[in-house]
Amino acid sequence: MPETDHAVVRAVLAGDKEAYGALVRVHSAAVFRVAFRIAGNEADAEEIVQDTFLRGYQRLAGFEFRSGFGTWIYRIAVNCALNRVQQTDPEAAYRPGEEDDPEQKLVQVAATGADPERLLLSQEISSARAIAVKRLTATERTAFILRHMEDRSTTEIAEILGIAPNAAKQAVFRAVQKLRRELAPLRGNA
């Protein structure tokens, strides 16, 4: 696949704009997934996908063919997502939702039952988790999301974030430690 991607990239750089569509079709799902993980909502994730592929096209001349196009565009997607998260109001992005306000952006845990007490507890956990994630630095948050949710290796995280592998590992450790401290009060409720 990387070889195929490289051939397509060469075609695009030679002036075949339509060839870029093949790359978009192959990698858009992965880009959407990581965009959603970082942004936390579909609308922003959609914008991030568009922005990612646009930036990718504009910077394609700088693609060095050493890594796969997927890894390269994934890195751009992470950066685009981080930029968008930093631009938007984090309080609004992770605020616990009101039931009568459908416009508010919610980070919710899927309820397994209709029990109101359980639903309330789920919302409380979700809110605490969102706040805990918000308090991480951008690097810690991204490293944790890539490791814990995207199941990326330390080496991949380092490459995506442009840092040393050991720094990536430390970022994940610090993120987990901070999250555990933030979520410690909820341990008895689980």
């Binding site: 030679a14 959407f32 394609l60 490791r147 994940v172 430690q177 999250l179 979520l183 341990r187």
Partner: protein, 258 residues
């Protein structure tokens, strides 16, 4: 074995090796044997389980197409990169063109500078040197004086009864009159009084001959006496003797120094 640190527990959770610590297998074995570390690891698992990934909303099968449809109109095709030799060729052409332009400009400016500072303006139109120009003028003037001399000689020996001869004299006088006026004016402008005076007297005789329709023997005698054609003839011969060949050399003006 010591109890595992939090970092080592986290590394175990993600299946990685902690920096400078025991191997993953050794850590797993310790967790099975040590109740305290096992409890701490269970707590870590519980905490991280709470931060489980959100389910990602599913996208349609043609999601990639949708993204491309929205993106495509905003993109402009990349320019095809030119081969290195082509760029080098273009650079050389540009360099040669610039060098030619610079040389042309330099030659133009240099020429203007040279003309302004090292070249004397030509004294006579046509670009000839003053010496050669003077030679041309002297040759023409000598010819004029020769013709005038012949006319005066003919006039001194003219027969009033010969109408044909008189007509030829008048015709010749008319032709010489115009050129004589020009030479006289020039001689007075350049400051040659001898030549100017002689040509002035010649002009009077020529005007009398040219403007008299019927020359009689009395007219001819009056002209010879009043105008002293013999004296004029002598002055012309003196002027003709000022030729380079007959005096000091080639550079000596013949007749006059106009």
């Amino acid at each position: 074995m010591k109890h595992l640190t939090e970092e080592q527990l986290i590394a175990t959770f993600y299946g990685e090796e902690a920096d400078g610590g025991p191997s993953p297998d050794a850590m797993a074995a310790h967790l099975g044997a040590c109740r305290e570390c096992g409890a701490r690891y269970a707590e870590l698992q519980q905490d991280l389980e709470r931060v489980r990934p959100e389910p990602v909303p599913t996208r349609a099968a043609d999601y990639g197409d949708q993204v491309w449809q929205r993106l495509s109109p905003t993109l402009t095709p990349h320019k095809r990169p030119q081969p290195r030799w082509h760029r080098w060729f273009q650079f050389r052409v540009l360099l040669i063109t610039a060098a030619c332009a610079a040389l042309t400009a330099l030659a133009f400016v240099g020429g203007r500078f040279w003309e302004r500072h090292f070249t004397k303006p030509p004294q006579i139109a046509g670009g000839a040197t003053p010496q050669s120009t003077q030679r041309v003028v002297l040759v023409v003037l000598t010819d004029h004086l020769d013709r005038t001399e012949r006319l005066l000689v003919a006039l001194n020996h003219a027969d009033a009864s010969d109408a044909v001869e008189n007509s030829q004299l008048q015709s010749e006088a008319r032709e010489l009159l115009a050129s004589n006026r020009l030479y006289r004016t020039t001689a007075s402008e350049v400051g040659d009084p001898a030549l100017s005076r002689t040509l002035d007297r010649v002009e009077g005789v020529l005007a009398e001959v040219a403007n008299n329709p019927n020359l009689t023997s009395a007219d001819l005698a009056r002209l010879r006496d009043q105008m002293n054609t013999e004296g004029i003839l002598f002055e012309i011969r003196v002027l003709l003797s000022r030729t380079p060949e007959s005096t000091t050399g080639l550079n000596r003006p013949k007749g006059a120094s106009i």
